[in-house]
Amino acid sequence: MDTVYTAGLGIAFLSVIVAFYAILREKDDLHRILLTDLAEILALVLIALVATDLAEALILPGLVVGISELMAISEVYLVKESLSRPRYAPLSIEIMDSAPAILSLALVLYGIVLSGFSGGALAAVGAIFYFMCRGHDERFAVVEAVSGYAWALWIFAFFIFMVLPEYWLFGVMTAGGAILLKVCGKMSLIGTMRGGHDE
């Protein structure tokens, strides 16, 4: 443990104190949700300070837990304040009429080229953008089914690693493609998080 870690820890603790003080002072519920999200990033900072491969592997579950708690509280907040879907288009600019198809196509294609986790995130940004612009009265069952099959493929790829290590390239490709589909499917749901019709 060197001075860099100690210094980083000091800065992180300072930020934690600032964030907690802000939460203490804030009275508006919505702002408090945002501030707690900010504070939660600091938990990830504390993990990231470890700066090994293991830390990288631990950040992901930490992030997932944080996001799921944030989504749960946001839902509670929406129900608590009896907020519903806005009746008007929340945002309307010219680019949202003309560009979504070509922009999302480019993003999704580039995501496929990258493959894996970052590719999935990029392709998902394309899908989110498309859903935001064009509305999302699609059948989500399809997205969920694709995501489920991708998960099964992903597990299958792990079995290839364990049982038939000599076909590792096939396993890597399968896992990469599956995680692309899975991350993409999951994240594209974010683009539709305004309630919407549940089909």
Binding site: M1, Y5, L9, A12, V16, F20, I23, D29, R32, I33, T36, D37, A39, E40, L42, A43, L44, L46, I47, L49, V50, L54, A55, L58, P61, G62, V65, G66, S68, E69, L70, A72, I73, E75, V76, Y77, V79, K80
Partner: protein
């Protein structure tokens, strides 16, 4: 590896379940906690929801509350999930897995509290959710500091006398569990009893009790 430090507080290990380098184990202490968690999960699975009766103060009048089946279905699902998360937390042999299971208990507790759409109950669930989210900072922070200072998260090595875990990490771990698993006690206790569905609310108390007993064992052993 695969033998706990000799003067282990929870007693010698009875059974060991290995998942690669994640090694879960049962000692007499954790086996007892596990049995409790299994028992109360089973109760959550089989029990029928109660129907609350409100008595008008100072009179003979009373009325029973109508409970929609689908609401309680969700609450029951969350209660079972909470029981399973508790099972994972009490037998975990890895500090980070323990913190993950603890935060899963927190999320399912939010679900149980928030399943009833009543303004007061939802308010309490919201406050509890904020506490649970904030608590992930000391919880994961504690685990991260343990990893950074000792180089391992495995309780098999941390429980040995060779490794000294800094006090701040232990304090963070306890603080995190208090916010994540035990917060319903002090944040939402009065409000959750307004909501119907008694056997499912019970699991909140059981899980926080078991988590607390487990984290005390971990902190004392480290």
């Amino acid at each position: 590896m695969n033998s706990l430090a000799v003067p282990a507080i929870g007693g010698a290990e009875l059974h060991v379940i290995e998942f690669g380098d994640i090694v879960n184990y049962f000692s007499p202490y954790t086996a007892m906690l596990f049995a409790f968690a299994v028992l109360f999960t089973a109760i959550a699975i089989v029990s029928r929801p109660e129907r609350q009766v409100d008595i008008v103060f100072g009179g003979d009048a009373y009325y029973t509350k109508d409970i929609w089946p689908e609401q309680l279905k969700f609450q029951r699902f969350m209660a079972i999930a909470c029981g399973l998360a508790t099972l994972g937390a009490v037998v975990s042999g890895d500090v980070f897995n323990f913190t993950l299971f603890t935060s899963m208990v927190g999320i399912t507790n939010i679900g149980i509290v928030a399943a009833y759409t009543n303004r007061h109950v939802l308010n309490a669930a919201f406050q509890y959710g904020i506490v649970a989210m904030i608590a992930t900072v000391p919880l994961f922070g504690g685990a991260a500091i343990i990893l950074a200072t000792t180089g391992t998260l495995s309780m098999w090595e941390l429980f040995g006398s060779a490794i000294a875990v800094p006090l701040i990490a232990k304090a963070f771990l306890v603080l995190g569990v208090m916010g994540e698993g035990m917060a319903p006690f002090y944040v939402a206790k009065a409000e959750i009893t307004r909501a119907p569905g008694a056997p499912y609310v019970l699991i909140i108390h059981v899980s926080s009790l078991l988590l607390f007993l487990r984290v005390v064992e971990i902190v004392l052993s480290m």
